[in-house]
């Protein structure tokens, strides 16, 4: 299982990478933990690869005035080791600890995984729940796309082939916010049969903000509209159950050898309930 031949360009800078992306049939290689298996199975046969994983411009986690900025080539290991994320966005570390395995987390990057857009990956649901913004850059300039507009379908995003995901911007969470993720994994791959990410804020016992996002359930990660119904409640078990049931109504769930559509819908309700319950408890 040797990849088909390609030309490799080791980018010297972001500008250099963007220039190389102008050529047809060119793919970006960051950590490669998703792309290299695809190359090996020859599910992808690009003519050219542009390596960016080594670019320090694309690495690092820093506080900004509105939240936190994460360079796209930051590895999962660096996310786990980040004191800033542990304090400001503990949800990122909780989810990252279960992505891939130790070796994959040492090389795999947050930007690479998001750009790959596997419909069963954990991080996209977290990005939706946290209302992340993605900075995309091309030779023509920069633009910012909300995570909520970014994921278009299985392995499909709002990015053009000439664009590079350069950073992830996380807006600061409201005061008294609690976050949680609950999932059911396909044991062999670790990918989510269903995962649910929840963000809940409370004030004097009442829910003031509630967001719920799913992954693995449908052909693209998505926000559950029913989460808004939690606002104004105490976040009690009954209210959470109502939101969890409403969240999957009318959803066309994936159906494959790992889980039937009916089973996935059931798991989604359980995951949603667990994530919301934990987020409410933490929102103190």
């Amino acid at each position: 299982m040797i990849p088909a031949a390609f030309e490799y360009t080791r980018a010297r800078s972001v500008a250099d990478a963007l220039k190389a992306l102008g050529a047809r049939n060119t793919k970006v290689l960051c950590g490669g933990q998703s792309l290299i298996p695809l190359l090996r199975f020859r599910l992808a046969e690009p003519k050219r690869l542009v390596g960016i994983g080594h670019l320090s411009q694309l690495k690092g986690i820093t506080r900004t005035k509105g939240g936190v900025r994460i360079g796209a080539a930051t590895t999962y290991r660096e996310l786990l080791e980040s004191k800033v994320l542990q304090s400001d966005f503990p949800l990122i570390g909780e989810v990252t600890a279960h992505i891939g395995d130790l070796q994959v987390r040492n090389v795999g990057t947050i930007g690479g995984g998001l750009a790959h857009a596997d419909p069963a990956a954990d991080m996209p649901a977290v990005m939706l729940a946290l209302d992340a913004k993605f900075q995309l850059q091309s030779a023509k300039g920069k633009r910012t796309v909300a995570a909520r507009e970014f994921f278009r379908g299985p392995f499909s995003t709002a990015m053009k082939p000439t664009e590079l995901l350069t950073e992830i911007q996380l807006p600061a969470l409201p005061a008294n916010a609690g976050t949680a993720y609950a999932d059911f994994e396909q044991l062999a791959s670790g990918y989510a049969l269903v995962g649910a990410a929840a963000v809940v804020a409370r004030s004097q016992g009442s829910v003031t903000q509630a967001t719920l996002a799913f992954t693995g359930l449908s052909d693209t990660p998505f926000l559950a509209k029913s989460a808004g119904e939690l606002i104004g409640t105490k976040g009690d078990a009954q209210a959470i159950t109502r939101v969890a049931e409403g969240a999957v109504e009318g959803v066309e769930a994936n159906d494959d050898i790992h889980a039937s559509s009916a089973y996935r819908l059931h798991l989604a309700k359980v995951a949603a309930r667990r994530a919301l319950t934990e987020a409410v408890e933490r929102a103190k």
Binding site: Q33, I36, R40, F41
Partner: protein
């Protein structure tokens, strides 16, 4: 199309002429004769091909050699210049291997795990080994060996600090 790159392998700079598509595992095995790096599943699952990249465990079947140009790679052959490394010693003593195929990957993963967490619980050791498969031992003695190695490394460090 081949290109020449330099890798620091087990402390020595090695120039290799590789195709862009050459995977690190095969460059180590076929061009540098470091056959202690095993290729098991060939699909980034089993961890037999694990090596250290700047001290961090990685699956060498899922990295292009050109991707790690200029970086430091440690294979099982280079883990210890002088006798067995404490993790190797512990695998020996605790019978942490049977056929031995997964062992280089297990040991190098354990070295990284213990550098991040010098005193892991059994659950943390098992979580750290998620990316390494063993078809013989049932993992029990591997987990015991890593626990023993952690203790040996900790006491070695204390002895070193006292000296």
């Amino acid at each position: 199309m081949k290109q020449s790159i330099t890798l620091t392998v087990n402390g020595t700079d090695r120039a290799v002429n590789v195709e862009s598509r050459a995977l690190l595992a095969y460059v180590l095995r076929d061009q540098l004769d470091l056959t202690g790096t095993h290729v098991g599943c060939d699909t980034s699952q089993c961890g037999a091909c694990t090596v250290l990249l700047d001290g961090h465990a990685v699956k060498s079947c899922t990295l292009l050699a050109v991707q790690v140009e200029g970086r430091a790679i440690t294979t099982i052959e280079g883990l210890s210049a002088d006798g067995l490394h404490p993790v190797q010693q512990a695998f020996w003593e605790k019978h942490g291997l049977q056929c031995g195929f997964c062992t280089p990957g297990m040991i190098l993963t354990a070295v990284d795990l213990l550098s991040q967490n010098p005193d892991p619980s059994e659950a943390e050791i098992r979580h750290g080994l998620e990316g390494n498969y063993c078809r013989c031992t049932g993992y029990q003695n591997i987990v015991a060996a890593i626990g023993a190695a952690a203790a040996a490394l900790r006491s070695g460090k204390r002895a070193g600090a006292a000296a």
